[in-house]
Subunit: 391 residues, 2 copies
């Protein structure tokens, strides 16, 4: 028996592989100049804290830290997240990664053919999940003059719009932050056309300049599912995130999660709870922010210094990414092999585009690569781009 | 905005809550006589080992233990599982719990209306997952004389049978083990009617008497997805399991897992890999087996001593459960409140039945409750059952 092709569910036909993860399979990230993944810098992982907290959690919680636990998350972590986010604990569901948050929200809300609205570009991992449920993903920019009309036209098609998916803070991939006014516009559209908002906010606490903008959740708490993550404020290896939302929505997510994986990892949750409540998280976060600010500034300076005319980029106030715009006609997917051969990795911008557009864009991450290696990486990339442009 | 009911996907209509998890919400398991959950005994969690291994993993792997990792699982753990299971590493996918294993297999194989065959009773968490994808779950006992005919009739209905779900070793809930002959019968049926087999085997290594029966996977490695779990041989709090299967099947599961949660928890995977390869797992498992054998024997003795005439039970050779058959007409769902009021928890057998039958059965777990409290628990339960029967 070797033929499996007719055995799979219809969803499988819509699965697509993450090009980012495929890059990671091809190369050893530490051996090249990687501006590709959204990996935190290794030095931000609080190894000494984790060593101490591992012992502390075993002493304090004993066997409880290794037993099955509540599907909503252990009470200590739910409470700590509730306090940090200033919400009632009943509005907190701990997830096994914020990727799971995206997935489970889609699972409980979306049937094949239902519309999910999003910005263009948007997060690749969200597109993977949306497409896997055969959602009809449509790009509508909230600030476009015809946004209202576009959404109206989708409703007129007889489609159900289930939610608008947005990363308002230091977006992945663009690095851009949505203004308060635009957030209010989005909420007004959601109210007018009666859809929910999924606010994905893994980078929110990584701000290097400017001031916080109110979350969409705080503007419309009963209409918004807010996704948080420990990946960038603790470590991604723990696979912990959270969802804030109306109890009626969280209840379905809770039942779904029972059959997905019963409960999030318990030891990891206690480590996160202790890391947060002890104040260690804030101390460590301050250092991460200082490091990333320096790295962002360094990358911005290097692009200024080396990139040829005709290339522009965003200036992110926080997060892990900036976005390059290359001259019209540039194909960053084709160009990728050349770049990787020369030892430089990035992610082609078109992968983040709902409609496959954006061929002349690329996402650059500035958190992962060592500070002292960034210049050489940007030099190589800039030289190759110059050559390509002048062809 | 308070009305959410028309916003959910069709799948949600088929979600059902785990009655076992609902029990856990109602009571503090440590304050009652609990024969309910499938919780390992707290003393089997190797706290000292985990404390040492936490430090060791941080020393040995450093930041890598907290970074994002491969979707298939970290190479060290995949390799360790491959060696333990005597399969090629390409046939191993690490999962974030073996519940996720069930879920992801269903997701990639089953469309609404597709048939999943299983024994009756069967594992509740699997039923939750199957129903959530709107599968048509049918009970067919492999050993029944008309099994072949029944399956043929399902095919004749025009239905697609996607897989047979089975827990061949120390089944949850019955405690029964499938003979080699019956396994071969199942494989023959799978070949005849060309369906896959999902072999769920979380208890396989907890054998207290008798000898191992070959896995179904080893009989039909290209037709079987074998699910393993670290929950009973390490600790459930780590939420780690594995799937063994044909690379063509694992490839779809891999892509699906990217959008589910990117990768399993990394630190936990290194802890499990080191626990396994250092020989600590086998040493700890030996102690767990000795403890559970004693507890099983104790429970069997207590049932013999206290249960009234007309009540029978299974004699499990391993695992965590035995199954009680009460006289016809006994309603173990109704009876449950009375039992819980008196401080004794179990799980009503009908919850494990595909068709809601089995009202006169109950599942009893012998791993969780402290040895010295088992007699009082069985005494109370037996007295209540006697009263109920003689009504």
């Amino acid at each position: 028996m070797t033929d499996y092709k007719d055995r799979f569910s219809e969803d499988v036909g819509n699965f697509f592989r993450s090009p980012v993860r495929e890059i990671f399979k091809r190369v050893d990230l530490n051996a090249i100049f990687s501006f590709a993944g959204g990996y935190p810098h290794a030095s931000t992982f609080p190894l000494d804290d984790i060593r101490e907290l591992s012992s502390l959690v075993i002493d304090k919680y004993g066997a409880k830290a290794f037993q099955y636990g509540a599907t909503q998350g252990v009470p200590e972590l739910r409470q700590a997240v509730a306090e940090r986010c200033k919400v009632d604990v009943e509005r907190v569901q701990i997830t096994t990664s914020s990727q799971q948050g995206i997935d489970v929200c889609t699972r409980v809300l979306v049937d094949p053919g239902d519309v999910i609205l999003t910005s263009n570009p948007t997060y690749l991992g969200a597109l993977q999940s949306f497409r896997s449920y055969r959602a009809d993903v449509r790009a509508v920019k909230v600030t476009d003059a015809d946004a209202d009309q576009k959404i109206g036209a989708i409703i007129a098609e007889g489609k159900k719009i289930k939610f608008y998916y947005i990363i308002p803070d230091f977006q992945n991939p663009s690095g851009e932050t949505m203004s308060l006014e635009d957030r209010k516009t989005l909420v007004a559209l959601a109210e007018k056309y009666d859809f929910l908002i999924v606010e994905d906010s893994p980078y929110r606490e990584l701000r290097y300049e400017g001031v916080d903008v109110e979350t969409i959740y705080s503007l419309a708490p009963d209409r918004t599912l807010h996704l948080g993550s420990f990946s960038k404020i603790f470590a991604p290896g723990f696979r912990l995130g959270w969802i804030l939302g109306a109890p009626e929505l969280l209840d379905k997510i809770y039942v779904c999660k029972q059959s997905l994986d019963l409960c999030p990892p318990i030891f990891d949750q206690y480590l996160a709870a202790e890391f947060l409540t002890s104040g260690r998280l804030d101390a460590n976060l301050k250092n991460s922010i200082d490091l990333y600010r320096t790295k962002r500034d360094h990358l911005l300076g290097l692009l200024e210094k080396y990139m040829p005319e005709g290339v522009t980029w965003t200036h992110p106030e926080g997060g892990l990414f900036l976005f390059l715009n290359l001259p019209e006609g540039f194909d960053s997917v084709k160009f990728y092999d050349k770049s990787l051969d020369a030892g430089v990795a990035y992610v082609a911008g078109s992968f983040f585009h709902v409609d496959g557009s954006g061929l002349n864009t690329m996402r650059m991450n500035f958190s992962f690569l060592a500070m002292e290696r960034m210049e050489e990486g940007v030099q190589i990339l800039s030289r190759l781009i110059s050559e390509e442009i002048s062809k």
